[in-house]
């Protein structure tokens, strides 16, 4: 688990990089949640998945009508 100070720095940098203008209170919430979020994502890197293709699909030439705007 990262050091607490590194967590705050990491979270602050990631939120700033995304341009999200969070308040100090919101930043504290994200800092508190980050270890759990990170652990959940890390658990997806499991051995059974090592050689799987992602479930992504792109079909060359496929088009669609725009959504309402």
């Amino acid at each position: 688990m990262p050091e607490a100070t590194n967590v705050e720095t990491t979270v602050r940098v990631l939120l700033e990089a995304a341009g999200l203008p969070v308040t100090d209170e919101e930043l504290a919430q994200y800092v508190a949640l980050y270890p759990t979020l990170r652990a959940g994502a890390d658990r997806l890197y499991m051995e059974e998945v090592r050689y799987e293709e992602p479930a992504l699909l792109f079909r060359a030439g496929a088009t669609r009508e725009e959504t309402p705007s």
Partner: protein
Amino acid sequence: MTVARTIEDAAAALRRGEVTSVELTDAALKRIKKLDPQLGAFLAINADGARAQAVQADASFAAGLDRGPLQGIPFGLKDILATADQPTTANSLILDPAWGDGTDAVVTERVRGAGAVIAGKLVLSEFAIGAPDDAKPFPIPRNPWAADHTPGGSSAGTGIAVATGMVLGGLGTDTGGSVRGPASFCGHTGLKVSFGRVPKWGCVPLGYSLDSIGPMARSAWDCAAILNVIAGADARDINAAATPVEDYLAGIDAGIADLQVGVPTEYFFDHAKLEPAQKVAVEAVIARLDELGADVREVSLPHSDLAKEANTLTLLAEALSYHRLDMASERWTDYGANTRQIIGQAALFSAADYVQAQRFRTWYAREAARVMTEVDVLVTPTSPGPAPLASEQGDPARRLTHPSFTGPFNLLGYPALALPAGFSEDGLPLSAQIVGAPFSEATVLRAARAYQSTTDWHLQVPPIVEADGAG
């Protein structure tokens, strides 16, 4: 006039001439006027439009034109679906008021074409995620069985309106459980369809690869009648499946003597946060299916806990992609506090994490497909317990640490139906989930119909409706 509780009964009464659509609609509007101020189900009520549609439905019956069971039925739409005659808000200050202006979503076109009477637009969690925010100018939805408990999200308004008979059926959307959660907590039936079964054009997105639009109504029969209208490809939705549509009512009463039922114990039944009352209720559903002739066996669907993680990560990443232009601006606080808190979590993941979630998805889909070669349906709890207190709904830590028994089936794109299974000691609805292989909605609905043919949990109404005098 006694108001029918199901579309099935109301449709029969309309055809016997025992009631008119105008009478059904006036009764629904009267109930909306009385109950909605307490329950917060509607964002916009379309009384004049509904009456006009009811008059048209009665004229159709008189002329011998019958467009099926939805004709003349009071109906509601989650306010994330475009309607040409009413604005769409997504329950948010953010959505451009011009979005969908003058346009019907594909599903709106289809329910209108089937003669449904659209009573109005229904409350949801903002952009189909998050929790109600009393700092924003939108109704706070309340559970009709206990006002201090959540009605579930995100299709809260549809759940409340169906449970209380403000409408007899409606549409919700489901990305991680947003049809099944409100159906579970409000005590009626709700079907998350296979990914691609129902076209999404004209629906504000949440998670592009997970979203589905599904029926919410009292019974499996009613959900089948709605699905008959909204299912099928449309060229405007590239994800809409070309898989042929079945008549979902045709075999619904065929029974389940041939049905193989799988019970995935790991995660869905052995999680520490599964409440005993919910577990007992779902085990009783399984026992009843067994009594009705199904072959019940235990199956193994490993790493379903990670399927919840993968579904959440996928949902959040796709949502932030859609919202970032608005979120990374002075409009950040125009979002509800809970909405922005949740969607913003996606910024803490990496692009590789998103791809890894899709690689896990491939693996989990293979595991699930293996299970579905052994059985026709799975039965699980819909949620760990009955509706929690509304004050707990927005707790971000709870959201992260609580299990989701619905999200794994969004990740898989499988159809999954929530059905009432009893009540807790506190009088809150309990719910079981029936899951099928992709595009096996007919089998899922048949299983639910068999159960509901021998039980009446799905017909129970909250005391607030009985007090209304029209229960």
